[in-house]
Amino acid sequence: DTAVSQTPKYLVTQMGNDKSIKCEQNLGHDTMYWYKQDSKKFLKIMFSYNNKELIINETVPNRFSPKSPDKAHLNLHINSLELGDSAVYFCASSHQEGRLAGVREQYFGPGTRLTVT
């Protein structure tokens, strides 16, 4: 009965490779997010999607490309991996119901620990 799930949990790869991380939520939420958490635990938004529409697209390298095939899934593809991409990547979701609803609480997945060697 996992609410927000991510695969894989761990990813070790070499510089220059391309990899994908998948995220699924079974909460019926309409908004999904990708966050990056660095080694100092700083959590920063990368992207958000609302009803499959890209809403937030932070200043991240264009090697990072999110894809939302439907409201329950948000994947992250990373091209030409670099050492600095090593971090924990978290997917999250919330039930936004439009902007008048304010900001709703976000539910996080368990994270994908990416190590680039």
Binding site: V4, K41, V103, P110, G111
Partner: protein, 115 residues
């Protein structure tokens, strides 16, 4: 200057102590305030959610927001070893302007409660 400042600690207290965690912020447009708890190697989980100023209590946890001072706090009473985790504050200006509902997180304070 970062949007949200939080002392990373670490903070180490004996079981039963009252713990005080806090964050300061610079953006006066913030009106949604949250505290997340993150256990080691896990995702953050929402602990407290407050809209605008005031206090909110939930069991042993109390969240306070002072918008005039741009300062938020989380108090944990009768702390337990199971409270050992990293506590992250997060805040948002809602959907005003270009913020688009994004959350801004503090760096987190690492708390250890020893028996």
């Amino acid at each position: 200057q970062k949007e949200v400042e939080q002392d990373p600690g670490p903070l180490s207290v004996p079981e039963g102590a009252i713990v005080s965690l806090n964050c300061t912020y610079s953006n006066s447009a913030f009106q949604y305030f949250m505290w997340y708890r993150q256990y080691s190697r896990k995702g953050p989980e929402l602990l407290m959610y407050t809209y605008s100023s005031g206090n909110k209590e939930d069991g042993r946890f109390t969240a306070q927001v002072d918008k005039s001072s741009k300062y938020i706090s989380l108090f944990i009473r009768d702390s337990q070893p199971s409270d050992s985790a990293t506590y992250l504050c997060a805040m948002s200006a809602g959907w005003r302007g270009s913020t688009l509902g994004r959350l801004y997180f503090g760096r987190g304070t690492q708390l250890t409660v020893w028996p």
